[in-house]
Symmetry: C2
DNA sequence: CACGAACCTTTGACATTTCAAATATCTGCT
DNA sequence: AGCAGATATTTGAAATGTCAAAGGTTCGTG
């Protein structure tokens, strides 16, 4: 292949960006992403080690835990930010494990409602307590005021992102 | 798809429940997580729509772009925070598409080094430019000072989490 | 120089992920 | 009634993700 020197010039600029001189927004994003990944992986490891559960399962059960009457799969999909097809599989496996049960309500046979079983409630309660402890542990070195401030600041990030999605979304 | 009500529902609100009684650390975590997820999904959509690429591919190519001499797969694994086995498959597919090439160096036949091809460099340069623009766009509503401040604050979060991992890990 | 320990990557079994297409059901309008 | 269109879920293909075990390869030390 021919050496593309003309391209190389433009690329250098971008490379520089990737290194140290990038736009603040990009730097912020990369740091948010790596931090979130780091914490997520730690939580996943511990969920697996101590409860034999996965993070998506935990998330899904969290939703059902606060809706004792259960949730339609579509609702679950929105709340967990997971696609419909994915929810199907997740609920299937949780049902097979005995933590979730599926019901089709009288009025509308298109709908499937998932709710926690007794075993599911018990398991999730234990996981939730541990989960909260892990987070306090992992964030132990942060100034408490900074935690609250960050929560607020990240809210503006979220709002801004929400305002500039390509698809239609609002709030 | 013009739902009036359910669209506005927010992951955090659901998770935390009406009684915002959860610990600040948990609240912060949930907000970080949902925000990151929101932005990631948008980036993924756009990468797919405009370049036919996936986010993990973009991440992997970003690392290789910065190291013109290529990286060993283990190094790639660390930098992308992806497991070894996963890197194997990612590189395989990128190689099949002609964007990456694998070489086993002279000295050590255990090692595989991956590096971008010409086509890979060209593609990544285009994606990186777009990517940076998307982020500036999505973060357009945030006060510029806040962006820098957040970058710094999140650094302390990352450091704290890093300090309290169960396994041995570092930065 | 031989052998066990350490290192690097791949493989295999599963779970999760997305998107798009297919199913099934309900609703509104004629 | 009946049918088009909206809704809800499932299915299927492909990619990504983890972990654990298996393959080679190299290195240090007896």
């Amino acid at each position: 292949m021919v050496e593309a020197e003309a391209v190389g010039v433009d690329l250098e600029i971008i490379v520089q960006g990737a290194h140290g001189r990038s736009k603040p927004e990009l730097r912020l994003w990369l740091r948010m992403l790596s931090t979130t990944k780091l914490i997520s992986q730690e939580i996943r490891r511990r969920l697996r080690a101590e409860f034999g559960a996965t993070l998506p399962q935990f998330d899904l059960m969290a939703q059902l835990y606060r809706e004792k009457d259960g949730l339609r799969l579509g609702e679950l999909s929105k709340r967990t930010m997971v696609t419909n097809g994915n929810v199907t599989g997740l609920v299937e496996r949780l049902e097979a494990d005995g933590y979730v049960q599926r019901v089709t309500p009288q009025g509308d046979r298109r709908v499937t409602v998932a709710k926690l079983t007794e075993a599911g409630v018990t398991l999730f309660a234990a996981m939730a307590a541990a989960h909260e402890g892990w987070l306090q542990d992992m964030m132990a070195d942060i100034d408490p005021d900074a935690v609250a401030a960050l929560w607020s600041e990240i809210g503006t990030v979220k709002a801004s992102a929400n305002n500039h999605l390509s698809g239609a979304a609002f709030e």
